[in-house]
């Protein structure tokens, strides 16, 4: 896959999303299902990596780019991540507060809510790939409850999950190593 095509495919995801992970379904569709240059496992790992660093969630695109094409791919991911941000300049310059128009807000609201539904759909293959034994299913279930009920930073959750899984494997509870 050429870097320019990779950039365009990633951009298609970022330019139609209004929150970090909301671009995931479009990216998954293009790179995992259509072009087969990425796996659901790598997509999951990209989320892990990004949530282990302090930067914005949208950075997972950089990880995705790296998995597809190494450092040049990561640069394509970075470009796809920053390109839409430039659109705020005409918005600030020309639109100002007019953008608060109820109709504009209604359109954006619909798109944002639809992206939440799509993200839930995208989580299905990710879960199928990652939740392969009782331990990982338990980790995901407990993590979800913790995320919904506390304000714990995801970094600690990822570290705790890694420790639990490592301990379980060391104790022979899961036959992976």
């Amino acid at each position: 896959m050429s870097l320019f095509l990779l950039y365009l495919l990633l951009l298609k995801g970022t330019i139609t999303a209004f929150a970090g992970l909301a671009s995931l379904p479009v990216i998954q569709e293009a790179l995992v299902f259509q072009h087969h240059v990425l796996t659901d496992k790598q997509l999951n790992e990209a989320v892990v990596i990004t949530r282990s660093t302090p930067g914005p969630v949208g950075l997972y695109i950089v990880s995705v780019g790296y998995f597809v094409a190494g450092v040049p791919g990561a640069i394509a991911g970075w470009l796809a991540m920053i390109t839409p941000a430039l659109l705020i300049i005409p918005l600030v310059h020309f639109a100002g507060r007019k953008i608060e128009h109820p109709r504009v807000k209604a359109v954006l609201q619909s798109v944002v809510i639809a992206s939440a539904g799509l993200l839930l759909a995208a989580a299905i293959p990710l879960a199928r790939d990652a939740l392969t034994d009782p331990i990982t299913i338990a980790i995901a279930a407990v993590s979800l409850v913790v995320l919904l009920t506390t304000k714990l930073d995801t970094l600690w959750l990822i570290l705790a999950s890694a420790v639990v899984s490592l301990s379980a494997a060391s104790l022979g509870l899961i036959a992976r190593i």
């Binding site: 990004t50 930067g55 990880s63 790296y66 991540m81 600030v92």
Partner: protein
């Protein structure tokens, strides 16, 4: 050209670059926490812009596609120093964290060969599934209030089903949602 700042002379490009490098890349807690830290740094500490302008950038950032935080930083950079300020803010807010993620991804690929690391990664990836599912709620939650609750449930469920059951591509579902949004009656609380 962007308007001048509120009181003092416009900050230098180096100053803008430093503030966004330091606070947009190294604040744990995601976009909201970073926005709060930037608010403190730019308004209360440095008095580079007033609350109205910050709020404008924040609101428009949420309406700009892609990563909201980067759009907010770009918008603030534009207000502070025109186009060069916008570009410096965007680069400063995105390059250090991109390098961090690239290095971590490279290490990740390397660690895959280690059995213990693999076990740890397996657990971390399970947590990532929970993070992705929870993000659905994070995205929908601000809209889930008053009379709009039914709308959130209907549009969210319709998008999910159209994609999973009818196999309509994600991008077409989003476009369809935009079209529906233009015809929906305006919610009383929007």
């Amino acid at each position: 050209m962007a308007d001048s700042t509120d009181s003092n002379a416009p900050p230098s490009l180096g100053g803008i670059g430093w503030v966004f490098t330091r606070y947009a890349n190294f604040t744990l807690g995601g976009g909201s926490a970073t926005t709060a830290v930037l608010h403190h740094e730019l308004l209360e500490k440095r008095h580079w812009l007033n609350d109205d302008r910050f709020t404008l950038c924040y609101a428009l950032g949420r309406l700009t596609p892609g990563t909201n935080l980067l759009a907010v930083c770009t918008g603030i950079g534009w207000l502070l120093h025109g186009m060069s300020g916008a570009v410096v803010a965007l680069l400063a807010a995105s390059i250090p964290c991109t390098i961090m993620v690239t290095v971590l991804t490279a290490l990740f690929s390397h660690w895959q060969e280690n059995a213990f690391a693999q076990a740890a990664i397996h657990g971390a990836v399970a947590a990532a599934v929970a993070i992705t599912v929870k993000t659905c709620w994070t995205i929908a939650k601000p809209h889930f209030k008053g009379q709009a609750r039914l709308r959130v449930l209907l549009i969210g469920a319709a998008a999910f089903l159209l994609h999973v059951v009818v196999a309509i591509p994600a991008i077409q579902v989003l476009l369809l949602a935009a079209v529906i949004g233009t015809f929906l009656p305006l919610a009383a609380n929007s």
